[in-house]
């Protein structure tokens, strides 16, 4: 009997490993192995005309991470976040609050507000590039959005991203608002809460976990922003829109990958920090209904 049980358990384990093989293999080859490889690239300085490479170690990595180029990339990435994340949250809350009511035809408005999800980052960037085009764009006379100036370029890249994100932010906030039981709002109304006070004292605290989730999505998508920068500004003018990821891609295909790999490690650390922050905040439970 014991033998049968043991062989059954072995069979179950073998089946499990077989089922996990594809996922683990893809993860090993395209997530973990490249991490090892990036660390390896970052530790060695190669020379273009020979196979020789020098060990530069952690000091070499540190030199890159404390360089102006890297810090500029981080600062521009942070600036891009400051432009896109709060605006995304505010727009999502605004649109979802307005569209979360029982009105005839409200579904049409909800579909319209969700619709920007149909446009990819590439499509929205192409759309904005044409809107601000110097010769024919609708906003050609709006100096505020002049992509040839550093400030205008950042605004243009941010605005295109904010617009593209509207659908996603709207859908997520609306789902959060709809998860609030009607009784809670009714009780608040009976207690004499007027709509605005009810919004800040009841709805907002109840959807705070949703907003945190959304903020993390927006921060991560800012960390990974690429298409809008390549299409709208190519990082310019004067590298004013070169975010960290964009800088790394510019170093792609060079013989010496030490700088790019060190920066990629920096980007990895930032990604981990954001996720850790999300985990810590979520485990403290911003505010849950029960």
């Amino acid at each position: 009997m014991a033998v049968v049980a043991r062989s059954r358990r072995t069979k179950e384990a073998l089946l499990a490993y077989g089922l996990l093989l594809p996922v683990v293999a893809v993860g090993a080859v395209f997530a973990y192995y490249p991490l090892v490889r990036i660390v390896q690239y970052a530790l060695f300085q190669k020379y273009s005309n020979s196979d020789q490479q020098d060990f530069v170690g952690v000091r070499g990595i540190w030199e890159v991470l404390s360089s102006h180029a890297f810090l500029d990339g981080v600062w521009i990435t942070v600036k891009f976040m400051l432009y896109t994340v709060p605006a995304g949250l505010v727009l999502g809350v605004l649109l979802a609050t307005v569209a979360n009511r029982r009105l005839r035809g409200i579904k049409i408005f909800q579909t319209v507000f969700s619709s920007t999800i149909a446009s990819s980052v590439a499509v929205s960037s192409v759309v904005f590039l044409t809107l601000v085009n110097k010769q024919a764009g609708f906003f050609r006379n709006v100096g505020w959005l002049d992509l040839d100036t550093p400030a205008g370029a950042m605004r243009g890249v941010a605005l295109s991203s904010i617009w593209q994100n509207i659908g996603l932010t709207f859908i997520i906030v609306l789902a959060g608002l709809q998860a609030i039981p009607d009784e809670i709002n009714e009780a608040a109304t009976l207690d004499g809460y007027r709509p605005i006070r009810r919004f800040f004292k009841v709805s907002m605290p109840l959807i705070s976990p949703t907003l945190l989730f959304l903020a993390v999505i927006l921060v991560v998508s800012a960390l990974q922003a690429y298409a809008q920068i390549e299409i709208l500004t190519r990082g310019g003018p004067q590298q004013s829109t070169e975010t960290l990821l964009f800088k790394i891609t510019q170093l792609q295909g060079k013989t010496d990958l030490q700088t790019g790999a060190s920066m990629a490690l920096g980007l990895f650390v930032l990604t981990v920090l954001v996720s850790a922050g999300q985990y810590l905040l979520l485990s403290r439970r911003v505010h849950y209904a029960d």
């Binding site: 089922l19 683990v24 490889r37």
Partner: protein, 317 residues
Amino acid sequence: MPTDTSDPGLVGAAPGLRSRAWRPRRRAAPELEPGASRHRGLANAGWYLLLTVLAVIVLFPVYMTFIRSISGGAAALFQKKPSLLPVATDWGAFADAFTKGDLGIPILQSLFVTALIVVAQTITSTMAAYAFAFLEFPFKRTLFAVVIGTLLLPIEVTLLANVSTMYDLHLISVHPTYLGTLTALVVPFLATALGVFLLRQGFLGIPKDLLDAARLDGYRDTAFLWRIAVPLTRPVMGSFLVISFLSAYNQYVWPRFVVKRDEYQTIQIALRGFITDNPNQINWGLAAALIASVPILLLLLVFQRQLVRGLTAGAVK
């Protein structure tokens, strides 16, 4: 024979009782104050006005893209003032996008790559999720952590090394082949931790007793998976399919760095070329952008519920 069967609660009741008075009232509460209804109407008009203004703002870029795409090529360039209406209307751009821009090829390429990724991810995620949800084996928690840990290593972070791997495997080279490019586009996305996580959550909703009962009835694991587990988690499966399609079709960074021949380009990358290579023919570049969005727009309209559920997985407790 009752003529109105829409209300099943009343079917079979004596015809004489089916008078209007017996129906529940449609309008909820009786008006308490005489002015309340007009007040309500005004408030609603206000909400409609606000909703309309917001809708116009949200749709403005799409509207202008459409207007510009049907404005004749060079003519629109010489307008002194930006126009809200088409200039020298010419619908030809939508045909030009296919004839001059060869739009069909990158769209088909994108749809093909997307289909391969969606099918592969669904299979691999279902397999792994089944193991994590229903089977017991050594190192289960460690392996789960290993799989979820890949979420911290998106393709953007590991781009440099992954592109090198593609060169090492000769999937990309100076003379790329179609098969090599296709493999490079698909292979890193054959599995995804997100899918494993979502489907595992779905499977965990199935009581373990059901598995035990099925085993006693002689079901093998594959039969249990296909006949019981998958049908019971159809909503989660649907959400994952939609999310998987959306992210595969909209990919930009990875195709940008592994496709080395224009003919093999996916639509998202091709769009950039349409605009930057033909600044005087922006109209068909924009028509292409609108056409490229059609698959996702259809997805949004047809599978709205699945899409919303997929996007908000984890957002609402």
